[in-house]
């Protein structure tokens, strides 16, 4: 596999995750709508954070995670919303299955289409449009299947606490682009919590 192509598609994944995460943030409405500008991605209307800091956060977080996704270490990427007490209210989880051992014979033809429909579904899905008060906080957290080797202090500990009970899962969209399968689902604390 030549290096250049690899680079290209890596950039694409970074872009895609960035957009997906930004979409979630935008759609949840924790920032005023003015904080986002309209962009076009794969001929879809997407949003991009205007604030450089916010933009950088998303960009850096995704960028830092991508090499580990490539190695198959990242299991999930979570966008966690929590209130002041640091107990998460909602977790949007990108579950990543990098089926690296599977041959890429079929199903991968319409990767672009899948990504498009992923973003479309994301923006239309019901749970995401639920109104949120603006005093929520959020963060991007990566869940690894094992601790990556290079631990040079770039990692910061998660702010969010765990739930005590298994959450309620609402799937939003699954996408299978061989050899990567990406599922987005929403985790809520169970109602009795």
């Amino acid at each position: 596999m030549d290096r250049k192509e690899n680079q290209y598609s890596q950039r694409e994944l970074v872009e895609f995750l960035q957009i997906a995460i930004t979409s979630i943030i935008f759609l949840k409405g924790i920032y005023p709508p003015g904080a986002f500008e309209r962009r076009r991605f794969m001929n879809l209307l997407v949003h991009k954070a205007r604030h450089p800091q916010l933009n950088r956060y998303i960009h850096n977080a995704v960028n830092a995670l991508v090499p580990y996704i490539q190695q198959g270490l990242v299991e999930r990427i979570a966008v966690i919303f929590f209130k002041d007490d640091r107990i998460p209210v909602e977790r949007f989880i990108f579950k990543i299955n990098a089926n690296v051992n599977q041959s890429c014979d079929d199903g991968g033809e319409n990767a672009m289409m899948d990504m498009r429909s992923f973003l479309m579904k994301l923006s239309l899905s019901e749970p995401i449009s639920a109104v949120v008060s603006q005093d929520w906080k959020w963060e991007i957290t990566g869940y690894f299947s094992s601790v990556p080797e290079s631990e040079d202090g770039v990692w910061i500990s998660s702010n969010a606490q765990q739930w005590t009970q298994p959450p309620l899962i609402t799937p939003i969209k699954s996408m299978n682009i061989q050899p990567l399968s990406l599922q987005l689902y929403l985790e809520h604390p169970p109602p009795n919590h």
Binding site: E75, M112, P166, T170, Q183
Partner: protein, 1016 residues
């Protein structure tokens, strides 16, 4: 218009106002300052303004002037006036130097610029200043004389009247051209195209009147069916005579070939319902090859129930028989047949390159007249009849003459055949009753005639291919030859043409005309003048003269609409057309058409012989025999129409994105004169574009239904329906290759290093376990961080000390042993498959339920299948252990999945229904689409035999296996499935049970995989 755009204006007025600057040499900064000052409302300026504007404004308005603006209106009034002043001032200063003797170009013209223009508003304003015109910043009906704009939004075009108030809307080039010509030109040619075309398209009252009177004059003479022959209009009018013969041929066949000659009304359906073998559909539609049984079926219906069998309301297979028998359909799909017959020649071979310019091309266009063939044979019939009548039978010559007369008239007057044919049939009918012998002879003769006719086209092409390699088939009796390369051998193309023509007439008995010229266009035009039965050579020198007097209408690509349009511009001949510039043509007729017209009227045609134009649209129209009783009829009809269109799409190997449904609605309640015809109709159409091109019947049906629902027409009024698919894409190139390699490409390389990595991971995990008990605790609390079992390398595991191994085993909840044993079996499996299996059974757990699903999922598919085959079914969740057990095999393997085949013949209705529904779906469909489909079948009430335990257990099994299959990759799909199942369970108690039984399994799997429960 905007404040900024009127900036220079203000500078001008300022200079005027201050009375000490005669020319506007103010700097921009200065202007700005002054403007600011002015905004503050200098009273002196106000009064000055009043003086300047008093001529244009009413005095009542001026009362507001000194007061602060009370509303927008008064503000605008003042502003407008001020702008005028400024403009006037600037105009007087700028045109000062010009010669005052001549009247300025734009004297009396006042323009209003709307939107973006080239040149810009400011430039236009400058021109108006210089040349004595006026420039309005705000539109006003009173002051503006011309509206200038380059482009209009659709809304403004639609409501042009409210936008322009009847003023001319002109393009900015008008101003430039006027200045260049130094006189005021007519604005008409510069009218905005959008509007110009609008105006042309708009039907004038006079045209209506004209049409009406035409029709009235036509009717008595030709029979009242003028509006019925829309089908024949479609075909080239040049073929009219030929068609008449064919038509008649079928017609005769109708009345004679079938035994039901006593019911001659059935032959009225001459245009569409032709139970006739020459109309055999093209070979591409193999499934619907002419089936004698089918063909004879419809006439018998006719005889039984008089005329009712041909309408949509009575014949369930109407659409199929319709297209099977339609002659036009035959012509339309003829090309496919031809391609099959002469595969190499018809392909646009890449080797055919435009011959070098030094070499002169020579093209022959040959048009065979099948009509002559038929006609000659028809004369034979007549002579035969004469013979018969003379020798064997003794019939009155009156009757004979009558028949011959009618036949001749029918041949000539093809376009209004209905009444004539009816009379003829009446005549024949009376004849037939007494002259059975004649009828029999005639009918057998006609049968042979038809068979022969089918061979004529083949013979025709046989001859052509013999003489020339480059043959392009235009239709079954028309072709183009490129004899450029042959010119070495054949010195005179005319000789060759006459040779070919002679051979055609020898082999087929038909005459053919030929046109010889430098390109396809000219050859065709030449043939036109060569007809009938002649040939015409048009050397390049003569092309110009030939074209000069040629009416534009005969050029290919000029239809009625375009012809009318050109006539409106007084363009009647190609000579006239040449006077028009290419740009104007492109502007008026569109980029491409304009270009083509410009080329064609100069005799330029760059098309190559052998090129096959890909069709731009695929569709099917049924305008005959369409009668619906209720909505259900209509839906059925639409379904079959969709099927037909989908078949055609498949046949052409294309998919389309835009779907247009056309409906003909009758204008009057009267039945049209033509039997089952569409009569006088209003045409409606709706279209829809979908993002993904498709040729799928289901999608088509859905779209069609949706489109149909837009019409709001009483189904009883519908006389014709057509479905067209455009924006075609080739089905092969549908998968864009370049997008394929995007994401997956970069993940692939890691697969090679995967083995190594898994070793690393295992090592790491074990190391951690040894070192850090605490970590172990936390980890086992949240199973998140455990590497999936499949990532563990069994080699490493085996080599671990037993105590650590047991610890890890504990860590994995005891599943590790299974994993290792399985891995072993996997290894043994590889070299000796059968042996490995037999070994497996010993080490295997006793039931599928004991195996970790996740492990199973991670295994390669073949291995997984093997294991599942070997294991007893997974049954511990099922409450009916006594019922005959579901199979051991994987139900979701294969395409279609195994269960589909299994259930098809099941005695349990619910399973059969699912199986049938699934088979109706696209291959490789999801369960959710099956469930969705089942929901949409509202009539599908699943049998409610509550004791039907077997069906329930089967369904549970399917669902469980599906869960296992999808839990890893597609939670969304499972979620959808269960939500749909929940919805479906309202319809059937059995499904409630299925739902309740499978849900725990789903939740368990989700809990295992995702550490939560699914919210349904």
């Amino acid at each position: 218009m905007s404040l900024d755009s009127s900036h220079p204006t203000k500078s001008g007025s300022n200079s005027k106002r201050s009375f000490n600057l005669t020319n506007s040499n103010n700097t921009g900064r200065n202007n700005n300052n002054k403007r600011k000052r002015k905004k503050e409302g200098d009273s002196g300026q106000q009064t000055l303004g009043m003086a300047w504007g008093s001529n244009s404004r009413s005095s009542s308005r001026s009362s507001f002037r000194s007061a602060p603006f009370t509303d927008v209106g008064s503000y605008m009034a003042v502003k407008n006036r001020k702008l005028h002043e400024q403009f006037d001032a600037q105009a007087s200063s700028s045109s000062h130097g010009g010669s005052g003797s001549k009247k300025p170009v734009f004297y009396g013209v006042s323009i209003f610029v709307d939107g973006y223009t080239v040149p810009s508003t400011q430039e236009l304003r400058g021109y108006m200043l210089k040349h004595g015109g006026r420039f309005e910043n705000y539109f006003s009906r009173q002051r503006v004389t011309h509206i200038i704009c380059s482009n209009l939004p659709g809304s403004k075009v639609k409501n042009l009247r409210s936008f322009s108030r009847g003023l001319p809307v002109v393009k900015p080039t008008w101003i430039l051209d006027c200045i260049a010509a130094d006189k005021l030109l007519s604005w008409v040619p510069y009218q905005l195209e959008q509007i110009a075309s609008e105006a042309n398209n708009q039907p004038k009252l006079s045209t209506f009147l004209g049409l009406k009177s035409n029709m009235v004059s036509n009717d008595p003479a030709n029979g009242p069916s003028t509006s019925d022959n829309n089908i024949s209009e479609v075909s080239n009018s040049a073929e009219g005579v030929k068609q008449a013969n064919q038509e008649f041929d079928f017609h005769m066949h109708d009345s004679f070939d079938e035994e039901k000659v006593t019911e001659p009304t059935c032959s009225n359906n001459h245009e569409n319902e032709v139970p006739d073998s020459p109309c055999e559909p093209s070979a591409s539609e193999g499934s619907r090859c002419s089936d004698v049984q089918n063909i004879t079926e419809s006439p018998s219906v006719v005889s039984d129930s008089s005329k009712r069998g041909h309408s949509t309301s009575l014949d369930p297979n109407f659409v199929e028989t319709y297209f099977k028998n339609s002659r036009l359909h035959f012509i339309g799909t003829w090309r496919n047949r031809y391609r099959k017959r002469f595969p190499t020649s018809s392909r646009p071979s890449t080797s055919i390159t435009p011959s070098s310019s030094s070499h002169r091309n020579t093209i022959i266009h040959i048009d065979m007249v099948i009509a002559t063939f038929l006609y000659s044979h028809f004369l034979k019939i007549v002579s035969l009849y004469q013979l018969l009548s003379k020798t064997a039978l003794n019939y009155g010559t009156n009757q004979l003459l009558f028949v011959i007369l009618i036949i001749h008239v029918a041949l000539l007057k093809f376009h209004q055949p209905t009444t004539l044919l009816e009379t003829m049939e009446l005549g024949l009918e009376s004849l037939l009753e007494t002259q059975k012998h004649f009828v029999l002879t005639l009918s057998s003769f006609l049968t042979t005639l038809k068979l022969m006719k089918r061979h004529v086209a083949d013979k025709f092409y046989g001859v052509l291919h013999k003489h020339c390699k480059k043959v392009q088939a235009m239709s079954c009796d028309e072709a183009i030859l490129d004899i450029t390369d042959l010119e070495m051998e054949v010195n005179d193309p005319e000789i060759l043409a006459s040779l070919i023509r002679k051979e055609i007439s020898d082999t087929t008995g038909c005459t053919a005309s030929a046109g010889i010229a430098g390109n396809i266009l000219m050859a065709r035009l030449a043939t036109r003048s060569a007809k009938p039965n002649g040939q015409c050579y048009l050397p390049p020198e003569k092309v110009n003269d030939f074209l000069k007097e040629l009416p534009v209408k005969v050029l290919p690509g000029i239809g009625r609409a375009l012809d009318e349009k050109l006539k409106g511009r007084n363009i009647k001949t190609c000579g006239d057309l040449r006077m028009v510039s290419k740009e104007t043509l492109q502007r008026d007729c569109g980029q491409k058409t304009g270009d083509t017209l410009w080329n064609y009227c100069r005799g330029i045609d760059n098309r190559l012989v052998g090129m096959i134009q890909e069709s731009k649209s695929v569709g099917a129209d049924v305008n005959w025999g369409v009668r619906f009783k209720d909505l259900k009829d209509t839906q059925n009809f639409l379904m079959s129409l969709c099927k037909e269109v989908s078949l055609r799409l498949h046949g052409c190997g294309v998919r389309g994105r835009t779907f247009t449904l056309k409906v003909k609605k009758r204008k009057t309640d009267e039945e049209p004169v033509k039997y089952m015809g569409c009569g006088d109709c209003d045409n409606f159409s709706h279209s829809m574009t979908v993002p993904m091109a498709t040729d799928d019947v289901d999608v088509l049906q859905r779209i069609t239904k949706q489109l149909f629902s837009h019409f709001h027409i009483d189904v009883k009024d519908i006389r014709g329906v057509g479905l067209q698919v455009t924006k075609l894409e080739s089905a092969d190139t549908f998968i864009q290759g370049n997008e394929r390699s995007s994401i997956r490409s970069w993940l692939v390389p890691t697969s090679s290093s995967k083995d190594k990595k898994s070793v690393q991971i295992t090592k790491k995990v074990t190391k951690k376990l040894q070192n850090d008990d605490h970590l172990h605790q936390t980890r086992s609390n949240s199973t998140i961080d455990i590497p999936p079992m499949s990532e563990l390398d069994s080699d490493v595991l085996e080599n671990l000390p037993p105590d650590i191994l047991s610890e890890i085993n504990h860590f994995y909840g005891g599943k590790l042993n299974t994993f290792i044993s399985k891995h072993k079996s996997e290894i043994t499996n590889l070299p000796q498959n059968i042996q490995g299996k037999s070994q497996n059974t010993e080490t295997m757990p006793t039931s599928l339920s004991q195996i970790d699903d996740t492990v199973l999922q991670q295994l390669p598919e073949e291995l997984r299948n093997d294991i599942i085959h070997l294991l007893p079914p997974h049954r511990n969740h099922q409450p009916q252990p006594s019922s005959p057990g579901p199979p051991t095999s994987q139900l979701w393997v294969g395409d279609p999945p195994q269960w589909v085949g299994k259930f098809r013949s099941s005695h349990i209705q619910i399973l059969r229904v699912f199986s049938e529904t699934y088979s109706g779906l696209k291959s490789n469909s999801n369960l959710s689409s099956l469930l969705l489909k089942s929901i949409s079948f509202s009539e599908l009430i699943i049998s409610d035999d509550d004791d039907d335990d077997e069906g329930i257990s089967w369904l549970c099994e399917i669902l469980k296996q599906y869960i296992d299959l999808k839990i890893d990759s597609d939670l969304e799909e499972l979620h959808t499935c269960f939500r749909l199942l929940k919805r479906l369970s309202g319809k059937s108690k059995a499904l409630v049970q299925v739902y309740n039984l499978t849900l725990p399994h789903l939740q368990m799997s989700v809990g295992e995989k995702y550490g939560g429960s699914l919210h349904i």
